[in-house]
Amino acid sequence: MTDTRCFHCTLPVSEPAVFFAEVEGTQQPMCCPGCKAVTEAIVAGGLENYYQHRTESANQVTDLNRRLQEELQVYDRKEIQKDFVRPATPASDSQNDRFTASLLIDGITCAACVWLLENHLEALDGVEQVSVNLSTHEAQITWRRSETALSTLLLEIHRIGYKAFPWRADQQEALLKKENRLFIRRLAVAGIGTMQVMMYAIALYSGAISEDMPEIYRDLIRIFSAIVATPVIFYSAAPFFKAAWRDIKIRHLGMDVPVSIAIGGAYLASLWATFFSNGEVYYDSVSMFTFFLLTGRYLELRARHATARAARALTNLLPPSCLKEVNGQYERVPVAELQPDDKVRILPGDAIPADGVLLNGSTSVNESMLTGEYLPIEKQQGDTLLCSSINVDHPVDIKVTKVGEETRVASIIQLLQQAQQDKPAIAKLADKVAGWFVACVLLVAIFVYWGWSGIAPEDAFWITLSVLVVTCPCALSLATPAALTAATGYLHRMGLLVTRGHVLEGLQSIDHVIFDKTGTLTKGELSLTQVIPFDGCSYSQEQLTHLAAAMEAHSEHPIARAFIVHSDSDQQSCQQDARDVKNHLGQGIEGTINGTRYRIGRPDFAVPSDRLEPPEHDGQWLLMSSNDQPLCWFRITDSLRPEAVNTVQRLHQMGKTVTLLSGDAEPVVAATAESLDIRHWKSESSPDDKLSFIQALQKQGHKILMIGDGINDVPVLAGADISMAMGNASDLARTSADAVLISGNLERLADAFNLTIRTRKIIRQNLAWALGYNLAALPLAAAGMIAPWMAATGMALSSLIVVANALRLNRTRELATKPHQPTTPSDAGNVGVAGATA
């Protein structure tokens, strides 16, 4: 593990860096071809200022490929566009060519992204106006359809490292917008009202202190204060009353109940004092209280909207389609229309749309999403292919046997629904405090009233009221939400999107972290990790790798990509060119380099005359031979994410138990566990096994955090106390998880635990402060020594302190950019591409 980080996405890069891109004259390290391509596209567009302006790192990007381009072209079809593209000029114009598309952009991390997107797109032909909303990640693009196809615009967005989805502004979105605007209105009324009432209150205070204000003026000011405060109470504070009424109906004491008692009680008493010209008025306190609380709630609302939107974006994809044979021709139809016995063609790289039987030929499929097995599985004619597995090798035809509810995936989804029902609930700290608090305040108020009615009956009511106002739980009810909102927002910017509310409070109690293997701890793609030459082989390991890379350059098999990464690292090696390259399906590849015939593949293919056994049983071993003489073994495995070792180590240091729970074969899981220093692991687990495994742990009282990506992880994700999905996980996993690791950087997980500890500390400080203030003021109020102006000042100060304290969570920048702890070299040596040439 090193400190080298990708210039674009700032993920760690394993040494030596393989990819570079030139930015303003300097060669910058890149983590993957995707980031390299994006950086080059940004520089080529003259927009390298982005890297100076940005305040957050970009997300790691996947490689652009032909397939994506073809898929994007589906968006050029008018019937698909009608959902999210509308004419920019009135429809009556017959020459109408200007259209506006609403898109949702995935991958926006800071304001520089908005600048980059707008400038990059506006430089394109035919684009008239682009506006990107930083809060909602919505983009409005106005362009001339005859000059540029929509798919070109989408492709350009992908080229600079973002993803674009059609944004159908549906009812839910309209509701969010309406709620947001209504809240801003409430906030404005409360804010302006508070300022005005406070101005009158200053006059009243000074009059009260100097005791020379004529009563007529005092009453006049009180009446106008009442006029201004009334809309604040009835319009701005309405949500609190509604929520309190709801709480009382279901017999649950939330924070809204004491809040409503304080606001409503003080307002009514002030009205009474105004009209009967006696006692005290608390219009200023009431308005200010409403305003502070609304501000807190508004921050909460915005965080909630942001996550709701992001969660919806995960599901806002094109309906999946497939190629179905109709009258001897293949047509693209939505998957939902498939029936059993339909014949479907599946191209390499496509997901299989339904369970089916292979009709002709053979291929291999990747079932890692369903089983966790990372190597492609060979399928012959007559074999069953499972829905959601991915075809790797050849275009094949299948006959559909099961669709929809009957498929294997659907049975996993049923398991998911069961698991969701059994999910343990996490109690909220604030609500626990609230119930206790309400009871105390009401008891004290009754006691004070009873006490004073014996001593001075005419003052009893006013003193009781001042007790209610002083103990008004303003700071108390801001304490938790302000801290949680600040922390959630910070996590989001760090690349961890929290989609369910209980995550931050729940993380504190987690003692057991369970990882899936394929795609979570590993990258889910194959790479070359070891080269073992035979005795007497005259080539060096490097030469062997380069020879293999030259041959594999002619193949599109996932295994080939493991070699090609190496050839990029060393430009001179690419001089070699393989001729007459032939792919033998399921066997290997053969070709001629500089007149010598080489073969790479299964042992019985590379050296048919001799039965050679791989040096070890686990992992996938390929044999390379020249003219029937064995040269070396290549070991191909799914490489670990570079930050995995460090993350697991940090989790161990925090005292968490880490478990590896995988559907993959035992030797592979054991090796992965060993290289990560994970002591507990379980292999060959079906989705049922995984779920029962965590439920058994939960019965023992453990609190479980599960991190996974595949469809086979979905039931466990739903059943775990808290679940996280990787950013590139299957859609189902992402939508059923409580949080999504958008950046794909596992270290964010350890950061999240750190942040939780800090958050809890801040919540505790806040609660302690708020309770302490209330307790200190209570005896003074009960003794009748608190004037309205003291109550107002104290409340304002304690609220501001609580909010300012919570905002400190937002400033923990160093968390995201903290350099790696150096790890032991043996850990790093086992993993990553560096191992092959070591």
């Binding site: 567009g45 908005v114 430089a123 930083l134 809060s135 917008k177 404005a188 201004v228």
Partner: protein, 62 residues
Amino acid sequence: MESLIILIPLALILIAVAIKVFFWAVDDGQFDDLEGPAHSILFDEPQRPKIPKKASNKVNKP
């Protein structure tokens, strides 16, 4: 002090107007993005002329 009798109602009218204007701004969508506009002024670049996208490159060092 007598001026209060005119000035306070006058202030009330001004508040009403201010709230009215604010409501209009909310409905106009001016509060839909509270983060972007704050940053966008910092990135002010002269609008580049509309030219085919590949030709707009800055000088790239080899």
